[in-house]
């Protein structure tokens, strides 16, 4: 419990919006995968466009740290751009956060219950009720939402 309290304190220091909403830590810290991996349900590879140091980036997508390249990562997996983060049963959504024109973070909304889930860099996975609780100086703001029908 003390360990979890310390983790929450650390998280809320950088992401203060989480401190005033409901969220839950759901994993140990792990630097082997990141937010983009987690949005793609992959805990084995570190998805990032930087072309060295053990990173993975899907074939056919430019290794650029731009919003366009990040959108493409999801479009090649049948996601389509959409305008709302509202829950639609049976639909997976992802949200790309941008700060200073650079993607910083990606969250995913679960098709079954509408809960958002994020991997915080090298830190924990969290489930969070509010997508916008992550907005701020650290990750910037939501710049694009994409959706696709839940796959079996």
């Amino acid at each position: 419990m003390a360990h979890e309290d310390a983790s929450r304190k650390e998280i809320e220091l950088d992401l203060p919006g989480l401190g005033i909403t409901n969220y839950e830590i759901v994993s140990e810290e792990d630097e082997r995968y990141n937010c983009v991996s987690w949005a793609n349900r992959d805990k084995k590879q570190f998805w990032w466009p930087f072309p060295r140091y053990g990173t993975y980036w899907p074939p056919g997508v430019k290794r650029d740290r731009t919003l366009d390249a990040f959108i493409k990562v999801f479009e090649v997996q049948s996601y389509q751009q959409c305008d709302t983060a509202d829950f639609e049963p049976g639909v997976d959504k992802v949200a790309i956060f941008v700060r200073n024109e650079k993607p910083q973070h990606v969250s995913r909304q679960r098709a079954e219950d509408g809960m958002w889930t994020s991997k915080l860099g090298d830190g924990h996975d969290i489930d969070h009720e509010s997508l916008y609780a992550l907005e701020g100086d650290y990750y910037g703001t939501v710049a694009q939402i994409l959706k696709r029908k839940r796959r079996p």
Partner: protein, 172 residues
């Protein structure tokens, strides 16, 4: 003996063969007498100094941390260097933990300060990579002058490759 430690951390990382007398006559007496140490005054023969750094007695007297290797060489780390590294590494971890961007982690001032410490810090970086993990590949690339993890497609692969290189080259 801060001047000596500064000198050692700057100039010496190991090797050579015979120097037991040198250790006795210079370092132990000097240490016991409590005199201050001036590298320029007392060390005229850098080869001899490098030689003595392989001796357990010198290591004990100077309070250096030996790092043994598979290759049976020894590299030495001055305690003040390790303290500085630990402080910077902790600061870097704390302030970049929630970032996914490798390049953002690497341009953090604490990470850059570690790189600026030069190749003498390689054993500490590798030990941290081994014991606490973390994205040290950028730093190691620059410190070692080559990217041993080139072509790795996972963090585990990159980590294993660097740790193997560290063992083979006597850093850990």
């Amino acid at each position: 003996m801060p001047e000596l430690l500064d000198f050692l951390s700057e100039k010496c990382t190991g090797y050579h063969s015979t120097a037991d007398e040198w250790v006795s006559s210079h370092f132990e007496d000097l240490h016991n007498s409590g005199q201050s140490w001036s590298a320029d005054e007392h060390i005229r023969d850098y080869d001899s100094l490098a030689q003595l750094l392989r001796r357990p007695r010198a290591i004990r007297i100077l309070g250096l941390t030996p790092v043994a290797s598979r290759a049976k060489r020894v590299k030495l780390i001055a305690p003040d260097l390790e303290v500085r590294f630990r402080k910077l590494a902790e600061q870097w971890r704390r302030q970049t933990k929630f970032r996914s961007a490798i390049e953002d982690k690497a341009i953090h001032p604490a990470y850059q300060s570690i790189i600026a410490m030069g190749p003498q810090v390689i054993p500490l970086v590798l030990r941290d990579l081994r014991d606490s993990r973390g994205h040290w590949f950028w730093a190691l690339h620059y410190l070692a002058g080559k990217d041993m993890a080139e072509g790795s497609t996972t963090i585990d692969q990159a980590r294993d490759t660097w740790l193997r290189w560290g063992e083979d080259n006597g850093y850990i």
